[in-house]
Structures are given as C-alpha cells and as structure tokens.
C-alpha cells in the first residue's frame, strides 16, 4: 500500500519533469513545478514516516515487468529504505518550498525545472530498488540529472569544469559499483537482492566488494580522497539543488554503502571496521580543515559535507567492528549514531545552503570577503543561519551535538574490542573526531561572523534585502527541526530502532518512556543526556539573569562609535576577514595539511608600488593523487595517438588478436 503510494509519487515526479520540459517557455511553469514537487514529497514523506514509525519498517516488495526481460524491476521498502526516504523527502519538501521563492529569480528556468523533479525521482528510486540492475540504473539516473542541474549555469566561469569533473567521478563511482554487484552476483548472475543476500561471499571476494563499494559510494558521498568533485560541483548548482546534493544525495550514497555492506555482503570481518573508521576519521579532519581555508560560502559548506560524511563513516566503521565481534548492543549504538547524524546533517546542511542561497540572491556574492553586516539587512536569515551553524558545530542543545555525543559514547565502548589494531585506532579516531568538532565551531564562527556580523565590506552587502517568505518558511522549518531533534532526541532514536534491528539484529533500549525524556543509550550510571532539560535550564538562567540585571542595573544605553582601543573610525576593510580569521589555524595546521604558503611582497621605502600579501593553499589530494593520474592518462593518450592513423587491416588484426587473447584467458580461468 505504502509502496504503491511512493511509486505513484515517483511517477508524478517523472510526469512533472516531462511537463516542465514541454512548458519550459511559460513563466508559470516554475511555480507549478515546485508546487507539484512540494505536494508529492510531502505525500512521500508522510508515507515513509508512517512506514518507519507506525509499521516499524515492516518490509513490502513489488515487481514490475519492465527493464531486463529475465529480471524485471524489483522494488522493496524496508526500515532502511523508509529512513532514507524520510531524509530524501524532507530535503525535497523544503527544497521545493524554497524553490517556490528562489526559483523566481532563475535566469534560465528551462535548464533547471525539467531536471529537478527527475533528480528527486531518481533519489527516491535508488532507495526503493531491490535488484542490482534497477539500483545501478536509478543511481546513474540520479547522477546524470544532478549533473544537468550542476550545468544549469554553465556559462559562469568554472562551472563547466566542475560539471566535467563531477561527470568523471560519478561514472567512475558507478563503474566501481557495477563491478561490486558483478562480484556479488557471481557467475550465476542472480541480480536481485534476495539472491545476493542468500549467497555467502568468500573472504577475498567480500574484501574486493568492500573496496569497490567504498570507491563507488564513497566517491558519491565525498570520502577523502574521492571528495574533489564535491566542493566544485555542489556550489555550482542553484542553491536549493546544492542543498539537495550536499544534504541529501550524499546520504543516498551512504544508503548505498549501508545497503551493500551491512545488508547484502553478509557478516563483516573486524578489519572492515578499521578501514572504514580510518577513512572516516581522515575525511572528518581534512574536510573541516579545507573548509576553514575557504572564503566562498558555498564551497565552505560543501567541504563541511566531507567532514560530516567522515563522522557518519566513523559511526558506520565502529558499528562494523562491533558487529564483527558479536557486540550487538554496541553495534546498534554506533549505527544509531551514524544514522541519526545522517538525518541531522541533511537537516542542517540543507538549512545552511538555503541560507547561503538567500545571501547569494540578495547580494550576488558568495565570497565572504565581500559581505559582512548582513544581520542588519537580513535579520531572519541571520537567525536561521545561526541555528544551522550552532547545530553543525555540535553545540548543545541542537541536534548535531546529540549524534556526535552518541558517536563518542560508542567510541568509549570500544576498549572491549579484542583486536589490537582497533585498540590503537579507535582512540586516535576519537581524537580526530574531537578535533574536527572543535575546528567546525571555529569554521562556523568564521562563516557566520564574516557574512552576517561586522560592517558591510561592499555596496552590495550594504544594500541587501531580506529574502522572500517561501525561502524563509523553508529555513525556519529546518531550524525548528534542528532544535526539536536536539532537545527530544529520544523519539528520533526510537524511530531508528527498526533499522538497527533489521541490519544488526539488535537495538538500543527504548528511550521515550524514560523520566524527563533523558536519553540513556547504555545504562543510567554510564551516561545520559537530556537536551530538553539543558535547554530549559539554560533558557531559565539566561532569563533570570537578564531580568535580575534589568531590575537592578542601570538601563541607560548610549550609542556611539566603536571604541576599538581609541583608533578612529576605520574603514570596514580593516575588519577581520574570513582569511585573516583562519590565519592562526592555517599557521598551526596548514603547513602539513595543505602546504600553505604566505608571501609578503613589501616594497622598499620610496618605492610607490603597493605592498602585496599572497596566501596559497593547496588541496594535497589534487597534487599527489589526481595530478599524477592525469599525467599518466595524458601520457598514455599521447602514446596511443598513433593508433588513430592505422590502416583497416591493422585494426582487424588488433580486434582478432584481442578476441584470441580473451578466449585464452577464459580457458585458463576455467
């Protein structure tokens, strides 16, 4: 029943896409498309919530006679799909609402509107797919439709390159997944997930599948070192699409990983956890360090996605390590932490991208060095952006803290793991997680401070206007959700129980009946957290403090020029910029993490040319991984160039020779 509703929603989305293609010339199309996607994602969201919470994720499957003749299309919805459907459709709902306002300013709606519903439909289908063929097809559909959206403003400098790199990485990732499914299905080629689940993979095969899945899903999610396309492509798209790509599509990639590794691949080995943990820890720290070095607001947010994906993979890796050692409750805790962070990140990352979009719309600027003081001109956007910043910085009482707290709690359970390597690795990853949380706070002080606080640095920032009501509604919805999930986390954790039950056969104790809605993941004398109580206490203390002060203290306020230690009214350009804010951290971490160089060009006295200060920050992954690969590919292409001018006889010989070699390989293999 619910599955039928969801498939109908997907059908409507696809129909909307076709409709948008036909009606691209009309000016009313934009509103109609976003209204249609809004309605369908609201329906799909309620259906998915119903499936996860009321039905506790009981599975339902269906089969459609389309696609490959011997396979058809298998579709299935279980607890895991339901959870990710909630994430996807919550993101779609708010993005559509935001699009109602934001889309009006779109210069080339014909390049956005047909692909937007198609992108949503693609993401919904990926999590519903129940055979490898459907999964890969919809995965690629999702990639290509989002690629089209990245290329929407292809004339802007850099966007075409971003689109190219995205396409390359996406194809590479799909190729890896294709091979992974090929290995899973084996010689028999049973591509439906049920048969794959039944089969047991040997150790070597499972290792290969894990590696391929990490490449395939990791490149879509943005795991270091496969993250390079993310900070290029996410900012290039229109802002509501950036929000979807960063907040939601990366989660679909996490879904792909969880589905393959936790569900299809069979019982894990302990070292899988070690690999995933290491990648997660590195992604978390490098992601936030790269983010700190950015002064483009949307790029900064995209790099933060790398960080948060790292945090999610830390949780997943811990869960694998616990599961391999039969520590079901601990595995459930780690998986709950990871999945809760999936939800949380989709909420606050969408919110922050919407905020960045509002700023971009109001000023035409993404560069924080040219903004400032927007809190006076866009007070409501500033409030929601502040909430998002606090949430992503893992500050209580917002939701980001709860999922990080849960991750820390599961790290603290890990001394009981028997493997030595994990004993060394887990505390180190814990330190990396703590480091990335602290750096994230610094990064968002910088982002919020440079954009919204201080004095406007340019005319455009001075004359910005508050954004439209649709966008504000979408942002306030998400901001409220950040707070609610932060102060009532017990309900959200309970909703995740069917998922952990399905994947691990274990779940956390039920939280909602506990006194005062405290969350107690393991045992009461071990750890507990109550966001609601903290929120109420802090609010009361602030209120009492303020009323005490206002009752007894002087009320007088005098406005005057800033004191600034007696320096006279300086130009707004003397303010701390995003770059100067990050300077101490660049000094501390920069030389080894990204080869940061500072060059000062100070002319001699009497020389009239201006002094210059240049900072160069490099993404070392580019320099040491991609640049060599690019070199090798270029070299090989040069060498093979001569093949182009061969005669037809030479080509035929080549084809013949290849066939012979392949047949010989096959004979030897068998």
């Amino acid at each position: 029943m619910i599955l039928t509703v969801l498939l109908t929603c997907v059908g409507i989305l696809l129909a909307t896409s076709v409709g948008a293609l036909l009606g691209a010339r009309s000016s009313a199309t934009s509103g109609c498309v976003y209204a249609a996607t809004l309605a369908t994602s609201a329906t799909a969201l309620s259906a998915a919530c119903l499936a996860l919470i009321a039905d506790e994720g009981s599975a339902s499957a269906t089969w459609l006679p389309i696609g490959l003749p011997w396979l058809g299309t298998h579709l299935r919805m279980d607890a895991l799909s339901a959870l990710f459907l909630i994430v996807i459709n919550l993101g779609s709902l708010t993005a559509s609402l935001y699009g109602l306002g934001y889309g009006r300013h779109e210069h080339s709606p014909g390049r956005v509107l047909p692909f937007f519903p198609a992108f949503l439909a693609g993401m919904n289908l990926v999590v519903l797919a129940d055979d490898a063929f459907t999964f890969l097809l919809t995965w690629e559909f999702m990639s290509l439709s989002s690629w089209a959206l990245v290329m929407a403003h292809h004339r802007i400098k850099g966007n075409a390159k971003a689109g190219f790199i995205y396409l390359l990485m996406a194809s590479f990732g799909t190729l890896a997944l294709l091979l992974a499914f090929g290995l899973l299905a084996g010689i028999g080629g049973a591509y439906d997930f049920d048969s794959i689940r039944m089969a047991t993979a040997s150790h070597g095969l499972a290792a290969a599948v894990l590696a391929l899945t990490l490449i395939g899903a990791g490149s879509k999610a943005g795991l270091v070192p496969l993250h390079v396309w993310l900070p290029l492509a996410h900012p290039a798209a229109p802002s509501h699409v950036s929000a979807l790509m960063s907040g939601v599509m990366t989660k679909v990639a996490v879904y792909g990983f969880v589905r393959i590794v936790f569900d299809l691949l069979g019982p894990p080995a302990w070292w899988w956890g070690a690999v995933v943990l290491t990648l997660g820890g590195i992604s978390a720290v490098l992601g936030v360090l790269y983010a700190l070095m950015q002064h483009d607001l949307k790029r900064l947010l995209a790099y933060h996605t790398v960080e948060n994906i790292g945090i999610i993979f830390i949780g997943l890796g811990l869960s694998l390590a616990f599961q391999a050692n039969d520590m079901g409750a601990a595995a459930a805790l780690a998986l709950t932490a990871a999945l809760f962070h999936v939800f949380n990140h989709s909420v606050f990352k969408s919110l922050l991208f919407f905020g960045a979009g509002a700023v971009l719309n109001a000023t035409g600027e993404r560069d924080m060095e040219r903004l400032g003081g927007l809190i006076h001109r866009m007070p409501l956007t500033a409030i929601v952006f502040l909430v998002g910043s606090a949430a992503i910085s893992a500050l209580p009482p917002f939701n980001g803290f709860v999922s990080e707290w849960l991750t820390f709690q599961s790290i603290l359970l890990s001394p009981n793991l028997p493997q030595w390597m994990l004993k060394f690795l887990v505390p180190a990853v814990g330190a990396l997680l703590a480091l990335s949380a602290a750096l994230a706070a610094g990064c968002f002080v910088k982002a919020f401070g440079a954009t919204f606080l201080g004095r406007p640095r340019t005319k455009v920032a001075e004359n910005a206007q508050e954004t439209d009501n649709f966008s504000l509604a979408a942002m306030f919805m998400l901001a409220l959700l950040c707070l609610v999930a932060g102060i009532l986390p017990g309900y959200f954790m309970d909703a995740l129980a069917p998922v952990t039950q399905q994947l691990l056969g274990a779940q956390l104790p039920t939280q909602e009946h506990l006194k005062w809605l405290t969350i107690v993941p393991i045992a009461e004398n071990r750890s507990s957290y109550n966001g609601l109580l903290l929120f109420i206490l802090t609010a009361m203390a602030a209120w009492l403090g303020a009323s005490f002060i206002h009752r007894w203290a002087s009320h007088a306020i005098r406005r005057s020029p800033a004191w600034d230690c007696g320096f006279p009214d300086a130009s707004p350009l003397t303010q701390y910029t995003a770059g100067s804010f990050a300077q101490p951290i660049r000094r501390v971490f920069g030389s080894f993490a990204f080869n940061a160089r500072e060059e000062v060009d100070m002319p001699a006295p009497g020389d009239t040319r201006s002094a210059q200060f240049r900072v160069s920050v490099r993404d070392l992954v580019w320099d040491y991984l991609y640049a060599p690969i690019q070199g090798i590919v270029g070299f090989a292409a040069d060498r093979l160039n001569s093949v182009q001018s061969w005669t037809i006889r030479a080509y035929l010989c080549l084809v013949f020779g290849t066939v012979v070699v392949l047949l010989m390989v096959l004979t030897v293999w068998n």
Binding site: W405, R558, A562, F581, V588
Partner: protein, 315 residues
C-alpha cells in the same frame, strides 16, 4: 526534595564563590610581587560598579552583541552548577555528562567569539580568531582527558567518576597523572591565564579574551566578567571532582558529610588558587604561535593516556 535543595545550594554556592576566587587569586599574585593588592572582595565591588554604569554600545552593534553576555552567562552557570562541588549525585546531573559539559562551554565560547566579531573592529576579530584557534586544540585535549577518566570509571557521569576515583579500585595510574597534567594545561588555556593569555591587560597584541570583550561596557561587561569568574571556578571544581574528589559527600548522606564536603571543597579551591597564582607569577607569557605547541602537548598527553588505557584493558 533534598536533591533539589542540594542542587540549588550548589548553584548559589558557585555564584557566590566565583568572584571571591578571582579576587583571592589576584590578592595572592599581588602579595607574591610584594604588593598589598586590592581586597579579595574587590571583584564584587567591580561588578556592582559596572551594573550601575550606563552601557556605551557601538552604533552598529546587533542583537547578537546584546544577547551574547546572557547566553554566555547562562551556559557557563548551568555547566558550573552541574559539576559536583561539595556533594555528588546532583539532581540535574543526569541531564549532562562530562562530554555535554565540555560542549556547553563550547556553546559559551561560540557566543563570545561571535560577539567579538559583531562590531567589526580588528581587535574583536583578532580575539575571536585566536580564541577559536586555542579552542580547536584545547577542546580535543579536554575530550581526551574525559575519555581517559570515563574509561577508568566506566562512565561519563561526573558523579560516578568522582565516586570511582574516591573508591579503592583506582590505584596509582600513569594515565591519571598524564591526564591531570593535560587537564591543568587545558584549564590554563581555557581561562585565558598566563602563559597563554594575560587576564590583567588591555592593549597587548597577544591578548585573546580581553580583545573579544573590548567593546563591552556597563552591565554587559559585568555579566561577562561574572561568567569568566564562573568558568575559572568551574575548572577548579572539575579538577577537584575528577582528580581529587576527597571529602566530597555522596547523595543521601547527612548534613555532617555536606559540611565536610564544603570545607574540603573550599580548601581545595584555596590551594588550587594559590598554585595558579604561583604559576602565573613564575612564568612569562608565550608567543601566540607557541600556544599550539603547548596545547598540542596537552592533546598528545591526553591521547597517550587514553591509548594506554585502551591497550591495558585485558583480552
């Protein structure tokens, strides 16, 4: 019922003691320098004076600037009242464990750093930027210390940790000693004390905390000063609760135990304050980019302590 009373007694106690501790440290420092120094009650007088003065606020100050002092005060106060001082088993202690207390202080710091950027002066910016750099190393170091203690005690609840350390199963532990050293380093950095920052100066280029609050005046400044005193007290309470919980009363014990707890707490504060004053008089302030070495050492000590525990756990 007793729970509530103890919790509120604790809340009032930290509020009342915080300025006294600041005054006491200043007094000791002055005397170590052969000066008479102001009375230990001077911080109270300063606060009273400040709240009676008018607020002079920059023209372009936003609501962040006005709201931040109360947010900082409230989060610090709640964090301080959740750290057991004279008795464990506080009523609200299940609301926040050690990790949450560290994060609450993080919230306060976030608000303070934003307030520093709000006016758009270079001093505010320099303070915020450096504060976040220091925090980016101090917070993970702190969390590593938390890890070590909670691995030992099997809990992140402060009350449980205190009871465990008091109990017979502790023994002499290398990890504990290392994390105590790291903890002191973090506490010095977090409270903007010498050798990281100088609490007694304006107009010094390496100032951090004072640079952020440079634009504050009147009642706002009073609230912020109160919050920094509270934070200092909180770190003293944390150290005494985590490493030296001797004499601390457990929940449900009689008034005698509470009295003993109170006396031992105040004694510990007095000793700790004296030590801090001696350290501050003794050392010179560091260059700003040496701080990363200092805190990096704290982080490594914390990590090493946690690693030792992970490795020493059997099987």
């Amino acid at each position: 019922m007793l729970d509530i009373l103890v919790q509120f007694a604790q809340l009032l106690l930290v509020l009342a003691l915080a300025p006294l501790l600041t005054g006491y440290i200043r007094k000791i420092k002055a005397q170590l320098l052969q000066r008479r120094g102001p009375s230990v009650l001077q911080p109270y007088r300063d606060l009273l004076k400040l709240i009676r003065k008018e607020v002079v606020m920059a023209n372009n100050a936003s609501w962040i600037f006005r709201a931040a002092p109360y947010a900082i005060f409230a989060t610090t106060l709640i964090a301080a009242s959740l750290v057991p001082t004279f008795a464990t088993g506080l009523m609200f202690s299940p609301a926040a464990d050690l990790i949450a207390i560290v994060a609450l202080l993080g919230s306060a710091r976030f608000a303070l750093a934003l307030a520093g950027l709000d006016i758009g002066t270079s001093f505010g910016g320099i303070g915020s930027s450096r504060e976040m750099m220091i925090a980016s190393l101090a917070e993970p170091a702190m969390l590593m210390i938390v890890f070590t203690l909670s691995l030992l005690a099997g809990s992140t609840q402060l009350s449980t940790v205190a009871n465990f350390i008091q109990g017979p199963d502790v023994g002499l532990r290398v990890s504990l000693a290392m994390s105590l050293v790291a903890m002191i380093m973090v506490a010095v950095a977090e409270n903007a004390r010498i050798p990281i920052d100088n609490p007694a100066t304006h107009l010094e280029l390496t100032m951090v905390h004072e640079a952020m609050i440079l634009e504050y005046s009147g009642r706002h400044l009073a609230v912020i000063e109160m919050a920094s005193s509270l934070k200092l007290l909180l770190y003293f309470s944390l150290i005494s609760c985590m490493f030296l919980p001797f004499g601390i009363a457990t929940a449900g014990q009689g008034p005698v135990a509470f009295a003993i707890g109170l006396v031992s707490y105040i004694t510990k504060l007095a000793m700790g304050g004296f030590l801090l004053a001696v350290i501050e008089t003794w050392t010179a302030k560091m260059r700003i980019f040496r701080i990363s070495d200092f805190l990096g050492a704290a982080l490594m000590l914390g990590l090493l302590a946690a690693l030792l525990l992970f490795v020493s756990r059997g099987t």
